[in-house]
Symmetry: C2
Subunit: 216 residues, 2 copies
Amino acid sequence: MLNARQTFDRTQHLYTNDAFAELVRNAIRFFNGTPVHTLPFIEMFLGTGVYALYYTRNDGVYSKYGELNRLAYNSPIYIGKAVPEGSRQSRITSASQESRKLCNRLREHQRNLEIVSNLELRDFACRFMIFEDNSTDMIGTIEAALIQWHRPLWNTTLDGFGNHDPGRGRYQQAKSDWDVIHAGRAWAERCLGISSSEQQILERIANYFEVLEGQS
Amino acid sequence: MLNARQTFDRTQHLYTNDAFAELVRNAIRFFNGTPVHTLPFIEMFLGTGVYALYYTRNDGVYSKYGELNRLAYNSPIYIGKAVPEGSRQSRITSASQESRKLCNRLREHQRNLEIVSNLELRDFACRFMIFEDNSTDMIGTIEAALIQWHRPLWNTTLDGFGNHDPGRGRYQQAKSDWDVIHAGRAWAERCLGISSSEQQILERIANYFEVLEGQS
């Protein structure tokens, strides 16, 4: 066996590099300059990457977003990512299998927005950024940075929009907060755990917008 | 509502930047140069980051790793990360709460290695890299790049080492492959789903090492 170090010096483990922060800012600037598309957005395209959804209607529980996005798309309600298949596992997948993930994810979100009873697809818009080859390693970082910056409601306060059917044997869990106030996904109705009440969730949303208002 | 773009031009969404790949290589070079510590490693330190565990014993089902790591710590059995608390949620946590995550994660892994009946803590070593401030955004990327490069057995072929107690209402799921061949975690014994057999898992491990041997 190799002779491993026994004394500990934290500085030997500490990585510092300012170039990274600058690179993240560069990518975020690019993201903020990408075209915004109203929904439904049905183009097929290849690639993985990061996307944002914007609520644009000046009405209802999310009306504040409609107001904030009146002059520019600066306030996403949700930010997500689509990473290449197999990036964390040893399974080898072909390039073609990997490649429709971003556009498929946007479609899946659109189906969910259509399915639920109290949202309209036309009240949303989207923006997205494609990463290829080695740059796909950046996807998680850029998504996290955007979420941290914007704290979108559906990423932070109202959980569950991006969830999938938990599947057989897991319906003991509670319906997500998102599903409580946006009824319509069949699998969500099968979840038997104790959810928050609609009242509690709406209060949390109101509180979120109050804090947001205080910041802007 | 703002006038959003209706026509789609993929090039407007495509981000390219070679600096990122170089930056990742730089961080990985740093990681590969950090000191290696034999276990138990009980130092307390502050920070979040990326770590690797190495198996060093030239015996048993993982003996190939003992052989591979004889001259240098080049073949981790597991790679993981500890990211700052609240990086994806709006919950604000103090810097002090965030700060012991990496060292706590290493401790948790060591407890698991001690608990199970057929592994010995002293047969393992660890290496880790601390990221601070803005650089913590890089953690996910570097972890993913290291996993993709090394394809460590416990990240790819043998699932479950990093799992936590699924908790009440979720014991319908199967015990992980890792828990099948490393009995001892109390919560794993509560999982009632149908697991792979020990025989199947050992075959998969043997196959993993055969592929690894073919590559080296």
